[in-house]
Symmetry: C2
Subunit: 223 residues, 2 copies
Amino acid sequence: MSAADTKLTILDAAERLFADHGFAATSLRNIISEAGVNLAAVHYHFGSKDALIKAVLDRRIIPLNLERLRLLDLADAGGADAVDFLEQIIEALIGPPLRLSRENKTAGEHFMKLIGRTFAEADENLKKMFFAMFDEVVRRFFPAFEKACPHLPSSTLFWRCHFMVGGMAHTMCDKEAVEMYAKGVCDTNDVDGIIRELVEFSAAGLRATANLTTAKTKVKVRK
Amino acid sequence: MSAADTKLTILDAAERLFADHGFAATSLRNIISEAGVNLAAVHYHFGSKDALIKAVLDRRIIPLNLERLRLLDLADAGGADAVDFLEQIIEALIGPPLRLSRENKTAGEHFMKLIGRTFAEADENLKKMFFAMFDEVVRRFFPAFEKACPHLPSSTLFWRCHFMVGGMAHTMCDKEAVEMYAKGVCDTNDVDGIIRELVEFSAAGLRATANLTTAKTKVKVRK
DNA sequence: GTCTATATGGGGATAGAC
DNA sequence: GTCTATCCCCATATAGAC
């Protein structure tokens, strides 16, 4: 096996195991046994477990974010006044990560779970690293959402984008859980369908007027 | 220190550390050092690390779910045809966990992070245990949502509820991340405000008609 | 570049004195 | 009920032969 192969094999095994069991719960020994390589090879190629984690994430996130920005540029080029501009930028943000699962198993489903998991499992260290990876995406997308939602105060816009990302993350990390609850009701493998569902749901949520100061949504639940 | 105190102290320390670092990354030794008790005490009172995890979750989730069902009954009693019935049941589902953070630090914020994290960090074991805790809640709430959203096919209803829960989970687990991105734009401590934002966003998303078969939301992104 | 062997420390769990 | 002491395993990481 060539050196490049060894490195790739380690990355693939690590991606799968991290996705299934989490970073802390996955040992380098689990990884090398899955990959069929030697323990020392991991340290030779990556230096440390933390560096391996970063390499696993970088391999997917960097092209992923490039694709997001490409789609955002495409939407911008189409004109921010298009009736479905909002749908287009939502799709540009949530489509690429969800669509990853359509590719082969290694590149897709495992990583999808992994990135969903990473949202939650962050050590302070990992968290900083992870969110830094999305800095530019946030910086580029937020103004687009402001353009698409001029009716919203920025705090409301922020929360709604946050909820949308939560829906995306939750969908990415627990396909099995969905299947547990939704036996037969919906198809968790129809990624394009899921994306359309999330786009539609989020667009409707983002288009709604902000009524927080009225009494209407203040549900009286405390007796 | 009495036996009951020891047990409580362990639960509190475990809750905080699990919330901050995750289940796998937190050792019993971390916990006893935080709690100021002996390692053997953990095994005496709980039996194993897994049983301790379950005890930590049970302590909050059981009353939490009771409160959810109480609020659901209250909404049902008010009549399913009330204009804000949908808002009421959304609030009944997402309000109690988010509201926990208003209580004291131990009972609240730590657990909020913890339960958000648990959504993602599940071992297969833990995941089964965790989702079993919400079985009854799902069984009772889903028909209420069906009543409130007769316009939606059940697969679309299911996905939208799923996205809503994702927004809730994401909000619960990464207050720091929100603050990183939203410097000053919104107040992450205003839990009632967050709840109202999420209720409003989700209600709008759930009320929207399902257009998936039309071309409108099929954003053409692939050249 | 890849291996074996090992250093060094931390993990969960338990036996048995008090 | 609580402690000390310890078992035994697994973790990350590295040294050094090939």
